[in-house]
Subunit: 341 residues, 2 copies
């Protein structure tokens, strides 16, 4: 009888113990974050908008989170990886059209690739745009995809000697997963090329191509000789996904206002403003590069000279203070920067 | 002992019976379809691409289905509902700018709205474009959304005396649900205005705004007097989502080739070609309007005169035959056309 009773009580007891352990063992969703203001703001925001009884509750369908990529999700210093791709695609271009070897800016790029880093200063923004159009367009979507994937598989960052795709910030990867586990759709909203980022967004961040919003050129539909249709990337900018272009592209491509957004530079300011301006609880955050030892420190907020990339200016800092945006300090908010550390 | 044995066997037996009943009771996912070639092709396609052992298996992330809207998901005859919206927005425009009342094409629209349907013939395509820009742009995204929602709530189709949003085809609603239940993301890819369709796509089709691809004007980010940012719809066409524009916009907005696509007119031809051209098993389908009694019959495939809208031409019919696209006959493939029948 005792045995019988025990056999009926025991399973219930075991289940209770398991559940209690389950609750205690709930893993920390943000283990690479120190318990500072930034982490607390993120967790409090998610708790509020996912709690049905909370007046700030947001239905899952409206949980849109947008992330800048370069400098927010992965390293952008000393040069955007896509700029490296453009430069390293020039020799292939020159091989096909040898006359370009003597013409600037192609000749300048060949000098840079031979090791003359000082020659980089000769490249103007219009030069870079010209090089981008020459290396990223006038080819089929399939050809571009194959070339970009090939480059990504072998290109490495010189400081860490690792593929660019491994230089993502572990704390931000945790935020992406944490938000998705709480019903968010996570989007990349990048000034970089939409087609480029779509080559790796799914494997690197778990973000599918249809959730990548970026700068985009026009497409041209046509037919191959065998009648098979294909799309060609045209040398014509259709979407410039920087500054005011970010909220504009968000409306075009998503059609919903984000409720949480992460950026790191002046190019993200309008996205953060637009996110914060919606009704209900909103959260806008900026990643501050203040960790010279583990990553980089740049931007005038640290009294450092302004840089070509990832400009977190004093004016942007002031905007953040004025609007109550959260500034994430890489140095003090992140326990680890990279998964490989 | 027998009792003991029974108590151990019984739960397993009950489970087996339940499972068997479950399998038998599986409801037909397409109850409004007759068991013809179209239905069989859809079911065979879904079975093949969702069966892991099948060589045609497609991972859920790549299950993209695209649907034209007007004439494919709902009634487009005798006039697109969005054209009705544009025409019925003209009086409001004239109220704000009374001088327009004497100027064509605004004066023509006022005649039409007074009941002179013959005046419709006076409106050219450039007239319609001018009217569309005048009634759909130069206003904030919020203002447009409020006005469109207000119109949709009260506008009715004259034949059925029902809101346009109830004139969706029940068999196509079933296909949308069937595909989603099988891991597909369902998209609308419409020549109509993306912002217009996004006002009702979620409530009418269960398709969220971010899965509506349509014709789109440029956006302009700016600030209200109180500093609050907002987006203005500009009178400048950015995406013309018709004909070749459909696969071009699919690449821009989705970045994946659909594996199944539904259309009903020449404006959908390139989307169907592009879908069929991908590797692996693909399915392209055309809805043929051949049911004058329950809906409409139009297009030269029926020996009927060509119409301004929804042109299912003989040439398109020939393309369908040549490529093996499935032609869905409303008359013979659909048991019911509307849910309210």
């Amino acid at each position: 009888m005792l045995n019988h009773l025990f056999s009926r009580v025991w399973p219930g007891l075991a289940l209770g113990v398991l559940l209690a352990f389950g609750a205690q063992a709930q893993p920390d969703p943000l283990p690479s974050w120190n318990d500072g203001a930034a982490r607390q703001a993120i967790v409090a925001f998610v708790d509020a908008i996912t709690t049905p009884e909370n007046p700030s509750f947001v239905p899952p369908a409206e949980r849109v989170a947008t992330f800048d990529q370069d400098g927010t999700l992965w390293v952008e210093h000393p040069m955007y990886s896509q700029v490296m791709y453009v430069l390293e695609s020039v020799p292939g271009l020159v091989k096909a059209k040898p006359e370009l070897a003597e013409v600037a800016p192609y000749s300048t790029v060949l000098e840079i690739l031979k090791g003359d880093r000082a020659a980089m200063a000769k490249l103007t923004l219009p030069d870079l745009e010209k090089l981008a159009m020459a290396t990223l367009t006038d080819m089929s979507v399939e050809t571009f995809s194959a070339e970009a994937k090939q480059w990504l598989a072998k290109a490495t960052d010189p400081r860490w000697n690792k593929p660019y795709t491994e230089l993502t910030y572990l704390p931000m990867q945790e935020v992406l997963q944490y938000l998705r586990a709480n019903g968010f759709k996570t989007y990349i909203v990048t000034g970089g090329g939409q087609d480029f980022v779509r080559q790796y967004s799914e494997s690197v961040y778990g973000i599918p191509p249809e959730q990548v919003v970026g700068s985009a050129v026009g497409m041209k539909y046509g037919y191959a000789e065998d009648g098979k249709p294909f799309l060609t990337k045209e040398p014509k900018l259709l979407v410039n996904d920087n500054n005011a272009g970010k909220p504009e592209a968000i409306q075009l491509m998503i059609g919903r206002q984000p409720i949480i957004a992460f950026g790191n530079s002046t190019g993200d300011q309008q996205m953060l403003e637009y996110t914060a301006a919606g009704s209900g609880k909103r959260l806008s955050l900026l990643v501050l590069h203040d960790d010279e030892k583990r990553e980089y420190a740049y931007g005038p907020a640290q009294g450092l000279p302004d840089t070509k990339v990832g400009t977190f200016t004093q004016a942007l800092y002031n905007e953040a203070e004025k609007h109550g945006w959260i500034v994430i300090s890489m140095k003090s908010d992140w326990k680890k920067v990279f998964a490989f550390e």
